[in-house]
């Protein structure tokens, strides 16, 4: 299968501190990779190197066949990126902000408008489209960041904690969206929630102190983690009580045990 993300031997030092110490990531289309690890493990630093925000101290990144270091602009067209904390222009309205991103992606006029509309629709931002980003709640700000990342339907998605700060309903919806998008794309997402990896990812990579310590299927991870991870029954109950579309029964640990 086609390698959409190919990162080899990534290292990053900040002064004398080495945050990332040799990470290889090959992600083909159709794979949703869950990136796990304790705070400060180097997840965000790695994603920043994948997206060209940080230059690696060593190693190479190739995106959809394009070497990032040599052709940064072409390579940056291949992905959508949600940076940590979902930064966005607070002085713009949601649709203005998305329109700016659409222009940055090369869409103008009716093309830009339909891209923005579609993104707003996919993230259920319609009631907020005329609201200033600064006045959005944390969850809606994160959704705006996601809307920006998927706007141009890129083959690659890099999402740094996409569900952080979302309520259980929103988490569920965003996971469904990511799972759908992941069908024909390469997705890398970081998270602190093991259940999320089970729910949406086809591959789990755990890093610690800048090194990969686990790389396998969520099932294998589950088997490994079973001993010390408590099931998320509460999440499930909350969703059942507060959403109507429970039909697509979420795969929780409660169900699998």
């Amino acid at each position: 299968m086609k390698e959409l993300i190919a990162a080899r031997g990534l290292r990053k030092s900040f002064g004398s501190f080495e945050a990332v110490r040799g990470i290889d990531l090959i992600v083909p289309a159709g794979q949703v990779l869950g990136f796990l690890g304790p705070n400060g493990a180097g997840k965000s630093t790695t994603m920043r190197m994948l997206t060209g925000f940080l230059e690696p101290t060593a190693g190479t990144v190739t995106l959809d066949g394009i070497p990032l270091a040599d052709e940064p602009i072409a390579a940056k067209r291949t992905f959508g990126y949600l940076p940590e904390g979902a930064p966005a222009y607070g002085d713009m309205r949601v649709e203005e902000f998305l329109n700016f991103v659409a222009r940055a992606r090369g869409y103008v006029g009716a093309d830009a408008r339909s891209r923005v509309d579609r993104s707003i629709e996919r993230l259920h931002l319609e009631p907020y489209r005329r609201q200033l980003v600064d006045t959005l709640s944390k969850g809606y700000k994160r959704r705006t960041g996601l809307a920006q990342a998927i706007l141009h339907d890129p083959p690659i998605l890099v999402l740094d904690e996409p569900t952080d700060g979302l309520d259980p309903n929103q988490k569920h919806e965003v996971r469904e969206l990511i799972r759908r998008l992941g069908d024909d794309r390469a997705v890398v997402l970081s998270t602190h929630i093991l259940e999320e990896v089970e729910a949406v990812c086809t591959r789990a990579v755990i890093i610690n102190e800048g090194r990969v310590v686990f790389d396998g299927t969520p099932k294998a991870l589950d088997a490994k983690a079973a001993a010390n991870v408590t099931s998320n029954r509460l999440d499930h109950v909350f969703r059942m009580l507060t959403t109507s579309d429970i039909g697509g029964a979420p795969r929780t640990k409660a169900a699998s045990r």
Binding site: F53, R77, P87, A88, Y89, D91, M92, F100, R103
Partner: protein
């Protein structure tokens, strides 16, 4: 999308950003008010009994000293504070696109402010018969000087996340670039520096070139000075953005 289109995208965003805060309005009011007051009161536009805009141009460097840093301070500091710099640098833009787009937006705003002083020109034209060529060169000089100060301010804004620090640094830097042309200072150093060194220092000063243009002579060397100092600081701006972006 080619580079001019990308620069235009940044330009639109940055130019519009001036109008989403009260900053633009405050800037324009203070600038126009001070221009008029200083020109008529301190410069004695009437008393001099001469129809020209000399007093207006004479106060431009001093107004710029306070007002230009107010325009440039947010250019990078704000993006670094809010983290949108990460977004900008991972969208398909080059650092050069960002540097030019931001600079041109700030410069366009400064030029709009300058254009809004046209009633002064109309006033002197109505009072007497000024040399319009001299006035036009004065306006060109003012625009070039504002551009140079903005390039310096943008460069310094990239060093910090704090707009107030960016404002103060820019004000001080622009002031230094002015005072090195003061006759007083030049007289002082001429005691112990060779003549060529003193002339070199004077040639580095914004004031020297601005005043030479203010007399109405469009000299290529003066224009070259403003353009090359601006270009040098924009170039350095790009380097600092790369260097400081992740901090």
């Amino acid at each position: 999308m080619n580079s001019p289109a990308r620069i235009a995208t940044i330009f639109r965003r940055e130019f519009a950003a001036y109008f989403t805060s009260p900053l633009a309005g405050i800037f324009l009011v203070i600038y126009l008010f001070m221009s008029a007051v200083l020109t008529f009161q301190m410069g004695g536009l009437y008393e001099r009994g001469q129809a020209d805009l000399r007093p207006f141009f004479q106060v431009q460097p001093w107004l710029d000293l306070f007002l230009v840093p107010a325009l440039s301070m947010r250019l990078w500091a704000e993006d670094r504070r809010t983290g949108t710099i990460e977004l900008l640098l991972t969208l398909p833009f080059s650092v050069r696109d960002l540097v030019l787009g931001k600079f041109l937006a700030a410069w366009a705003f400064a030029c709009v402010a300058l254009a809004l002083t046209a009633p002064l020109w109309i006033t002197v034209a109505w009072l007497g018969s000024p040399d319009h060529g001299t006035i036009l060169v004065g306006y060109i000089a003012s625009a070039l000087m504002a551009g140079t100060f903005l390039a310096i301010g943008a460069f310094l804004s990239a060093f910090t996340k704090n707009q107030v620090i960016a404002f103060v640094l820019s004000g001080v830097a622009c002031f230094l670039l002015m005072v090195i042309g003061f006759p007083m200072l030049l007289d002082f150093v001429s005691g112990w520096l060779p003549r060529t060194a003193v002339e070199a220092i004077a040639a580095m000063s914004v004031l020297t070139h601005f005043e030479s243009m203010m007399r109405g002579v469009l000299d290529g060397r003066d224009v070259l000075y403003f353009v090359s100092v601006s270009a040098a600081f924009l170039f350095l701006n790009g380097i600092v953005v790369e260097w400081k972006k992740a901090e």
